[in-house]
Amino acid sequence: MSDRIHQTDIEAIQVALKLTGELLHGIVSRSDIQQISAEVLRLNEAVRRAAAGHIQSADHPQDFARLLVAEADDTNRMS
């Protein structure tokens, strides 16, 4: 995203986010909505880009815990 488009997007989305907070969550913002908008767009873009094309039907969140155990360092079995 270029800075120019990013700024345009921030301006475009801030009204929506303000309303989302109030109408969907019943929470009135206490922050600079422009800054919140920028943060949401940044996070959204980073994760969307990383995930694009990589999610497969067999992926499951619990694979993570299983993998941690399966890949355990040898020293964890030392005595």
């Binding site: 989302t20 206490r30 993570f64 993998l67 079995r77």
Partner: protein, 485 residues
């Protein structure tokens, strides 16, 4: 000029847990005497550091007396029998208040004592009381508008780090021998690093979170802060292991961390993890000298980069914000004005991140971890980088209550630590030197899953190699401050 009165090297409060434990068993002094000494130090340092939310002198002395009675009848509970500790105020104690550094939760009492506190109690530790922290376990600075800011034990004009701010400051000041901390995006490692200490964020699921107030359950890791790798090992030994009360707890073996500390790191294969952030010149200089020390002991240290680190940071950020917004939504509606500006602002984006993004971060996690272990960490045992890219800031520089400043301060302090919460990998910070004003600099050692024994071992050996002397460096930092004033 405000400066903390430092302990003398010969003070019993400066001894290692092993040494104190031995002397207690030899009856050189009692647990009560030791606890009274720690309480005196807590009271003495509190006006400068504000490390404690409350000092529970009566209950600590009662615990110590009970432990002395048990010892007199030949019963020693465990390796921490009679050792004064204190803990971040985010762990429930049945029937006792827990503030979480916030006014939002009010005077709610703990329902069931946190599993880690139960384990410490069973091992004989004395609990001096709840330690200061960032509001709602959120924030890397130690700033707290409700209970007052916590201050750095090396220089009270600088931040303690957070969110386990009191844990870092109280251990750093030689009040207690160790403390529980929790780490969602660096909250154990940052205060440990900023106070010249060792702090362990274990593998996700290594230590029970039951009874620990969450920031983000997908990321939170409970762990110890202590003054040496050996002390960390003793504490982790008590804390680690599967817990039926914590659904995310993992059933993996728990080695004897202390007894393998001399050898678990032997023949470790190392690389520097680069390309994440630009470092302050002082950090670069001290860190590169440290790499030379690693090479002398362990051989060639390569250099690697990972495209995934920035992604991991963003994914962790999404977890943190969305899970926190889920937990806090009710309070943000009903008690919005009781939040600090910083915590409210940092939680708000979580209301707006699409559910699909959150689930993508969740579903991608195993895949990214697999790629990291078999790509960046292929044929490697330990990755090393600085813990922070910048020196310890002053309170003014890191004031997150200034409107619009919180996101910048957080991203300046956390780029090197937060990614490893997403990956779930064990990460240990250790002190490696000081900057030009004498403040401590830390290195972060990252291992493969459940490599805590290896990390503690290499940190122990390298600490000896660099002849790390916390008190001497603290004294020098104070002298430099006088010189430069």
């Amino acid at each position: 000029m405000r400066q903390l009165t430092l302990n003398q090297p010969s003070d019993i409060l400066e001894a290692s847990i092993t040494e104190v434990g031995s002397r207690l068993r030899r009856k050189e002094f009692s647990a009560e005497q030791l606890t009274r000494q720690a309480l005196d130090r807590a009271v003495q340092t509190q006006p400068m550091l504000n490390a404690f939310i409350d000092i529970w002198a009566d209950s600590a002395i009662a615990q110590a007396k009970q432990l002395d009675l048990e010892a007199a009848s030949g019963k020693w509970r465990g390796p921490l029998h009679g050792i004064p500790l204190a803990h971040k105020d985010c762990f429930e104690r049945q029937g006792l208040p827990m503030t979480v550094g916030s006014k939002v939760t009010g005077a709610e009492l703990g329902r069931v004592t946190a599993s880690v506190l139960q384990r410490l109690n069973e091992a004989g530790a004395v609990d001096l009381g709840p330690l200061n922290m960032n509001e709602m376990v959120a924030g890397p600075t130690g700033q707290n508008p409700h209970f007052g800011d916590c201050r750095n034990s090396w220089d009270v004009d600088r931040i303690s780090g957070g969110s386990s701010s009191g844990s870092g400051a109280a251990v750093g000041a030689g009040v207690i021998y160790g403390a529980l901390a929790s780490d969602t995006g660096g909250s154990t490692r940052l205060p440990a690093s900023m106070n010249g200490l060792f702090g362990m964020k274990g593998t996700y699921g290594r230590v029970s979170r039951a009874g620990c107030f969450p920031r983000a359950f997908s990321l939170d890791c409970v762990g110890p802060i202590a003054r040496s790798a050996q002390d960390c090992a003793i504490l982790l030994q008590v804390l680690a292991g599967w817990d039926p009360r914590d659904a995310s707890s993992l059933a993996a073996p728990v080695p004897d961390y202390f007894s393998v500390i001399e050898r678990a790191g032997n023949r470790s294969r190392w690389a520097v993890l680069e390309g994440i952030a630009v470092y302050h010149p002082d950090i670069t200089q001290v860190f590169e000298s440290f790499i030379d020390v690693i090479q002398k002991r362990y051989g060639q240290v390569g250099r690697v980069q990972s495209d995934q680190i920035a992604t991991c940071y963003a994914m962790a950020d999404i977890f943190s914000k969305v899970e926190a917004a889920t937990l806090h939504g009710h309070w943000m509606r009903e008690r919005r004005d009781l939040y600090s500006q910083a915590v409210f602002s940092r939680t708000e984006p979580g209301l707006h991140v699409p559910a699909v993004r959150y689930l993508e971060a969740l579903q991608m996690r195993a895949k990214i971890l697999h790629e990291f272990l078999h790509g960046t960490m292929q044929d490697l045992d330990v990755l090393v980088c600085p813990t922070m890219p910048i020196p310890v800031p002053t309170h003014e520089e890191a004031d997150v209550e200034t409107p619009g400043k919180v996101f910048g301060v957080v991203s300046a302090l956390t780029p090197l630590v937060r990614p490893f919460n997403y990956l779930g990998l064990p990460s240990l910070t250790m002190p490696i030197g000081v900057d030009r004003v004498g403040m401590p600099i830390g290195a972060q050692l990252v291992g493969r899953p459940f490599a805590e024994a290896r990390l503690l071992s290499v940190a122990h050996q390298l600490s000896k190699d660099i002849a790390w002397d916390r008190l001497a460096n603290m004294k020098r930092a104070q002298a430099l401050k006088v010189e430069n004033s």
